[in-house]
């Protein structure tokens, strides 16, 4: 097995609201190797979202360490985390989170803008990423002119464009009809086939079934870690 891309050990996350403390994660140990397709499943309130925020470097753990690509990100400042997110993580959100005033390719190039890639390269790379998700003919369209499935594919292209270590998909099919769901899941499967590391967070078991490995989280602990899928 390759060196793990994601390595969590003893991770705890406690939220404090006045005098009330709430422990959302109560000691998580997990590793994800390069090229794996992992689904994290759990009902709402299980700590799934908190785990997703930590994995995505949107938040830091209260206790424990998180090595992302061998880099300890658990004690970083916000500015450092921003840089790590830009370089190592591609996000796909449930609500797509596209900027409605910008055409598709300019949505896709956004992470490259923050990475400081020269302008001339950015358009080429954004268009290439859009072609990869099958939207080569929608480069100049604004999100409002695209269907939900197409918008989510633009978001996937945006996650891909920086060649990140992991693609983190948070309920990517939650707002899609079944046809678009299949298209997006097919796309993720395809990306996995080309060697990408994908972490899918969902509460739907049939969506999770697409992944190779399922991590079940409940009450802030990982209760099950099993390999699924026929391949």
């Amino acid at each position: 097995m390759n060196a793990p891309v994601v390595d969590l050990s003893g991770v705890r996350k406690t939220y404090r609201s006045g005098s009330i403390e709430f422990e959302a994660l109560r000691g998580i140990d997990m590793q994800i190797a390069g090229g794996e397709y992992v689904a994290v499943i759990g009902p709402s309130g299980s700590g799934k979202s908190t785990l997703m925020n930590l994995l995505g470097c949107l938040d830091t753990p209260t206790e424990g360490t998180y090595l992302l690509g061998g880099e300890d990100v658990s004690r970083m400042t916000e500015a450092q985390l921003a840089e790590v997110r830009n370089r190592r993580i591609g996000f796909v959100f449930q609500q797509f989170h596209l900027l409605s005033s910008l055409p598709a390719w300019r949505n896709v190039e956004l992470p490259l803008v923050y990475a400081g890639v020269p302008r001339a390269d950015r358009r080429d790379r954004a268009v290439a990423a859009l072609e990869k998700v099958g939207l080569g003919d929608r480069v100049e369209n604004r999100p409002g002119e695209l269907s939900g499935g197409q918008q989510q594919r633009v978001a996937v292209a945006r996650a891909l464009v920086t060649e990140p270590d992991i693609i983190l998909a948070d309920e990517p099919t939650g707002n899609l009809d079944s046809g678009s769901t299949e298209a997006v899941l097919g796309l993720l499967e395809e990306l996995h086939g080309s060697g990408r590391t994908i972490v899918l967070i969902t509460h739907e078991h049939d969506v999770a079934a697409q992944a190779d490995r399922n991590l079940v989280i409940r009450d802030g602990l990982i209760t099950d870690d099993r390999l699924v899928g026929a391949r």
Binding site: N53, G56, L58, D59, E78, A79, A82, E83, R85, N86, R87, F91, F93, Q95, H97, L99, S101, L102, L110, P111, V113, Y114, A115, G116, R158
Partner: protein, 409 residues
């Protein structure tokens, strides 16, 4: 993310909400254009006054009959008394008494109706001496001015102002040598004054009839030797204050009064400019203050809209942060956006101010002089307003945590 990208993002954001951006700028637009116009009007008024006063002549001292104080302690209005006489003018002209006075022109003015053939024209009739053209820096364009001999003999001659001449005589005909009559007394026109040239001084400088003072006294039936003003030209600019002192001492002595009861006043061109400007300055400061307040209000408008914008674009901010924007980058983006709003408002305000400076003079008959310095200062102020009032919204945007920002619906 470099400055060019930041700038591009900011222009995109401003353009995405065109109407709102324009309304946001409005306060600054109004503030800047009113600052430009107020400063321009103030400057224009000062220039006008300066022109008018310098058109009077050079190295000039103007002696006016001052307010007299009667025995009952009632002070008459300025210029109401007739305390200056021809004798005063003669003594000022005496080089032994006032060595620094070069030329002296006493002036006695009144109003009369001039008749040339069928044409009637009422104008101011000014009696003076032969030194007048030099003292007042005027010249004749046609004919000649009257001589000292004509003043002594009270000759019935007249020199007309350019406008007066054209009112009384049809253009192709030269007025020189023609007759005009005042109350039945015929006067020979011996010259026409060159136009004073400065339009800002109004037409009165070009609309007058100049007579030997002796003839004017006779025409108006005046038996006193009172004069309304004595114009004195000092020998040079450096002797102006010496001449002032000498005339002051002479007149105090001749009239038997002290400085506190003086029945005349002497002003120099500088003192006239200063007096006029101090009034203008007060007005400019007042109007400028109001304009500055409207700028402040405009700046608060920018801050208000930027705060709304931060709240409204909270998800965009969250997304940008998730994609790798550091707090510093977000802060810079909103700061640049606010300063862009400020600067655009400033530019539009300057344009409106300049347009106004062309339109306004024809509406209110006041010249407006624009200064590059004021324009640059206005632009700098609008930029500073944008930055100043953008700091708080920008740091609020920068402080948002990406999770909360992404979650908000």
């Amino acid at each position: 993310m470099n400055w060019r990208e930041t700038f591009r993002t900011a222009t995109d954001a401003v353009r995405a909400h065109r109407l709102r951006s324009l309304l946001t700028m409005l306060g600054i637009v109004i503030g800047i254009s009113s600052v430009i116009l107020t400063v321009g009007l103030g400057q224009g008024a000062q220039d006008k006054v300066k022109d008018q006063i310098s058109a009077l002549g050079s190295n000039l001292l103007i002696v006016s009959p001052g307010s007299s104080t009667s025995s009952s302690g009632v002070r008459g209005g300025f210029g109401s008394s007739t305390t200056l006489t021809l004798q005063d003018a003669q003594s000022i002209g005496d080089r032994a008494v006032v060595p620094d006075a070069d030329k002296v022109a006493p002036v006695s003015s009144g109003s009369a109706s001039l008749t040339a053939g069928q044409t009637n024209w009422t104008t101011s009739v000014v009696g003076t001496t032969a030194a007048w053209p030099e003292v007042r820096a005027r010249s004749v364009s046609e004919g000649r001015f009257f001589t000292s001999a004509e003043v002594t003999s009270a000759a019935n001659v007249v020199v007309l102002g350019a406008d007066t001449a054209s009112e009384l005589f049809a253009t192709p005909q030269s007025p020189v040598g023609q007759q005009v009559s005042v109350d039945g007394t015929p006067l020979t026109v011996i010259g026409v004054l060159a136009s004073s040239g400065s339009s800002s001084t109004g037409s009165s400088e070009d609309d007058q009839a100049i007579l030997p003072i002796s003839a004017q006294k006779r025409l108006t039936g005046s038996t006193t030797s009172a004069v309304s003003t004595i114009y004195v030209e000092a020998t040079s600019g450096s002797t102006l204050s010496a001449a002032y002192q000498e005339i002051n001492a002479l007149l105090l002595n001749a009239h038997g009064v002290t400085a506190s009861t003086a029945d005349f006043s002497i002003s120099t061109q500088d003192s006239l400019v200063e007096t006029a400007n101090s009034t203008n300055k007060t007005l400019t400061v007042l109007l400028g203050g109001i304009a500055a307040i409207s700028l402040l209000v405009g700046g608060i408008g920018v801050m208000n809209i930027m705060l709304v914008s931060v709240t409204e674009r909270i998800r965009e901010i969250g997304l940008r942060k998730a994609l790798g924007a550091t707090p510093a980058v977000i802060r810079r983006q909103f700061l640049v956006e606010a300063s862009l709003l400020g600067l655009c408002g400033g530019v539009i305000g300057v344009v409106i101010g300049y347009v106004g400076s062309f339109v306004l003079p024809s509406l209110i008959d006041q010249p407006v002089s624009l200064s590059t310095l004021a324009t640059c200062a206005a632009l700098g102020t609008s930029l500073a307003l944008g930055i100043g009032f953008g700091v708080y919204p920008a740091s609020r945007a920068a402080r948002l945590t990406p999770i909360d920002a992404l979650r908000s619906e």
